[in-house]
Symmetry: C2
Subunit: 587 residues, 2 copies
């Protein structure tokens, strides 16, 4: 061993001991001509080294620099000037000698906690970026979350079973990454978008409770904070109903939050139907750290002669508590905010419910105070509040109001990072209509079971939009962290589902014959859930970005800029695989 | 929940309780017109169900069949005819009612323990094969081994850190699987052959102790029991020397064997140099459950007028204890055995060291008893033993004798599956000569450090064969279960290594620029090891085959016959990836 102790370990009780440490030079402080201090860093902490008289010659001949890797020998001494901020702040090491194990050029990015370096530079030098304390803490957190998830699932009888990565391409939903096979020329494997069918087969095989913390792959155009490879906590159970799954994984969340954050989450977690989530929050992953529900105003405000409202499919309001004193400037700014292309509204209407009880709106020309009182009653506004109203096409307007609600929640400080508000959203629609493809697609995936009492509606295309699934998401502070469903386990229902999605019998047999086959040999009722592990960790770490919770993430073009991957491969590799490149047309 | 208890849970203390179970019909035994027994199976065990008078009508209208999934309700009763072989053998359930949750066709393969079905059929219906008790126990064992490895590594401060799967193709050694990138047309990712460079970067980043139980990929022609995707327990440590790594992972092996097998392995594990392994066992993974060392006979037997020996590069013997009474027939059979093409020898010479002390050989024409006494002295044979001798080209003969030694060990019952003999093989050569490529290649991989005192030999091509590496394998009962090395951590030495392997500076920079770069910013001394997890599990499970320890293995053509993967993909997928297929020439 290159060391007797780590840099985070020494305390007063070690004073007088001869020790050997190894680590990185964090900082060198020259105090005088014959006295320097060095902070030595390793994974476990920082320790102050004292370089005094006896090392003066060596120190001038073999000077140290930032990020040098050194081994040091010396005696632990009580510090005269203790640093209570530092775990080892009571002591220092008076060096007898040091050895430079490896030098370092001046790092091109800062190793300090508050780095201002560009993302591109940080990613290129990721191995240096990973030295930053903040990132190290994130990866430590990730390790602990994974370990606690495993511990919990172990106590519940779940077995970690590995499923294959080289599988079959069955594009339905997202795009597959494919892998040409050399041994089977002109054929391709696909990388799994999730172990979905395998975990279902394991249920058919009788494994009863399965889990895996596993990489998944989706070749989608990357939005901020989406990665082509990501990690799921993937789980499946047999002989259960939705209620059993919600209870089991609610307990897992509680376990993780207790062990990682010391937070006792109240149970049961609240539940909300998809329909309610859309109506009252404008999206399927409500942030319920605060109320400020959406109020549909159509009946209250339409046909009163105001064309904007009369032409609108939806008029929707929120009541921003205590905001009646918003200035003209603030209101203009909010109006600009909703007019941004991302939000896409043409304007914002407001009603100030003044502290004296009077009502003052931006549409006084069209609505008198009596009418505005109806608005106040409908939205539940009180003196001191501000009613904000959007109008337009149903879908866009609801989405815009959902965004405005979150923005107002943010401005009012109602979205405290340290408050965790979990929520089950249930009763998702089975299908959703894909305008681009002009067909119904599975909202969750094609293995999701419709509500048993609605199965007969699958015979009537006009009813597709009304069929609900035994599908559920777990939402935390407005972010979906997991989702799952009770699965179809009968061959005939699964075939009906494939047919509903426009798949021919041949196509279904080609893509999913193994699953349909498995359902004929005693498939048990089963269901499961998958958590976005990267996202769960970032929420627990209080961060918006999942990238800082992934050791080696890719950028928005799917590139690893450190490796410079993907990259060209050799012609002989292409030849062996019986593929050739098609040149891209110039744009 | 579909059940109040599992099928492995009920005991005498439950007698009289109303219970609900769910599972698979294993066996139906019709006892009389109005009495049938059913064994109900789930992951946890078997429970006997009694179908009596009150269910006669239902049982004839809704008959059960093998592998049907049913839910049953009834009362626990003490059995009159207890079955001590069965955990639940004291009780049975007298059914009030049952519900068929799902039917089953007659399974095309046997679910029973001793299946005689072909591998191909078992793989096609893997979801049924996985129901077999033997396979289930293997996967449970695998889960427990993984969990114990994690538990041990946790106590030692190792952190599980995920490394990427979509990386850069840097073929050097095995062939990469590649993944065409849609977002970066004409460029490819590669799937990792191991996380080697990433774990080294994590050491550069200061993570100190890393591990991962992780899938790796090699596109090699498959021999029996090799899989294109396989799992490693991958570990790396900083500020350590070889001794520290051997101690750390020796303890891991001891932990796993204690927890999984209840076996206390003696430490320290024996160590043997590569050179000794080759000389005394004829291969680099000796099975040391028994001695029977190879004895080089050249000096004893050459130049005595026997042409076979005089022409041979190597004459090598083993002493088979207690085999002097081998019959002519047995000796002929052994001779045929060494003449098989897999072994490739032209003949076998023997000396019987008879119980009366006399010596009788198959080469009495060339060697008198006085000379044979020298053989006996050299090989250490005693009255009652049998000396077996092979002669020929060095490499083939040593290998053949290694095989013969194992065969004799097998015949003498010296290779007891329940005895575990671990061994460290150390001091591997740094390079080996690849005849096909006409160049030196890295025996372990290009990141392995030469012995520090031999670094200067890298300047002299004639010395390459003599340079030893700080590389080690852990061998168990003649099988390599893990291997690793102390790594190069200096840029100049790494560059020298790449150059020694015939890599130009440009190529080295293109493929491994990130690693060379990282070594310039304070890389610590480090080293690691990777265990073949599939293999380790199969050894712990007492099996030769890794396939039965993998939930969904591939066959020898790299195919998943259940999924029918790999398979053709759609033209639009090829178009999106800017690749096209090259038709294979007819053979």
């Amino acid at each position: 061993m290159y060391r007797t102790h780590t840099c985070g370990e020494l305390r007063m009780e070690h004073v007088g001991q001869q020790v050997t440490l190894a680590g990185w030079v964090q900082v060198i402080r020259k105090i005088s001509a014959n006295l320097s201090f060095v902070d030595l860093r390793d994974r476990y902490g920082l320790t102050q080294l004292v370089i005094g008289d006896q090392l003066l010659t060596k120190f001038s001949e073999q000077p140290l620099g930032r990020e040098f890797v050194i081994q040091v020998k010396g005696v632990v001494r009580e510090r005269s000037n203790k640093n209570p901020e530092m775990a080892t702040g009571d002591i220092e090491i008076v060096l007898d000698d040091y050895t430079i194990l490896n030098g370092s050029k001046v790092p091109p990015i800062s190793i300090m906690d508050n780095s201002n370096d560009s993302d591109e530079l940080r990613m290129k030098y990721r191995y240096l970026d990973l030295r930053r304390n903040a990132i190290k803490q994130n990866l430590e957190l990730r390790y602990r979350v994974g370990r606690e998830a495993r511990n919990y699932l172990h106590t519940q009888g779940f077995m970690d079973i590995e499923t294959p990565f080289l599988i079959k391409s069955t594009p339905e939903g997202a795009r597959d990454f494919v892998v040409p096979s050399r041994m089977n020329p002109n054929e391709f494997y696909a990388l799994p978008q999730s172990p979905q069918t395998f975990k279902q087969l394991l249920m058919v095989s009788g494994y009863d409770r399965y889990y895996q913390i596993v990489k998944c792959f989706r070749d989608e155009d990357l939005r901020a904070d989406r990665q082509p490879e990501f990690t799921q906590i993937d789980c499946e159970m047999s002989f259960v109903e939705q209620e059993d799954i919600l209870n089991t994984f609610e307990s897992m969340m509680k376990h993780i939050f207790r062990e990682i954050k010391g937070i006792d989450m109240k149970d049961p977690f609240p539940r909300m139907t998809f329909d309610d989530a859309m109506e009252y929050y404008g999206n399927d992953k409500p942030d319920i750290r605060f109320e400020m529900k959406l109020v549909t105003m159509n009946e209250t405000v339409k046909n009163k002669g105001f064309k904007v409202f009369d032409d609108a499919e939806l008029v929707v309001a929120i009541n921003a508590k205590g905001c009646s004193e918003y200035t003209r400037k603030q209101l203009d700014e909010l109006t600009d905010w909703v007019k941004r292309p991302q939000i896409g509204m043409t304007g914002l209407i407001y009603v100030k419910h003044n502290t004296d009880g009077s009502l003052k709106s931006s549409v006084d020309k069209f609505f008198n105070e009596e009418q505005l009182k109806e608005w106040a009653a409908k939205t539940g506004s009180q003196p001191g509040d501000l009613i904000l109203v959007l109008a337009g096409r149903e879908e866009r307007t609801r989405k815009a109001m959902s965004e405005l609600r979150l923005e107002m929640g943010e401005r009012l400080g109602l979205r405290d990072k340290n408050v965790y508000a979990p929520l089950w959203v249930i009763d998702f629609p089975l299908f959703e209509y894909a305008e681009a493809e002009n067909r119904w697609v599975a909202r969750h995936h094609p293995f999701t079971s419709p509500k048993p009492e609605q199965i007969h509606l699958m015979d009537d295309l006009s009813q597709y939009g009304n069929i609900k699934a035994n599908a559920y998401d777990i939402v935390l502070n407005g972010t979906e962290v997991g989702g799952g469903s009770i699965r179809i386990f009968q061959r005939d229902l699964q075939e009906k589902m494939f047919a509903a999605l426009g798949m021919s019998e041949e196509e279904a047999a080609h893509k999913f014959g193994f699953l349909l086959g498995a359902f004929e040999y005693g498939a048990p009722p089963h269901g499961g859930i998958a958590f976005g592990f990267d996202r769960l960790c970032s929420l627990l770490g209080g961060s918006e970005s999942i990238r800082d919770f992934i050791a080696f993430p890719k950028n928005n073009s799917g590139r690893d800029v450190m490796l410079d991957a993907p990259s060209a491969i050799d012609d002989y590799q292409l030849d062996e695989l019986y593929i050739s490149l098609v040149k891209q047309e110039p744009a």
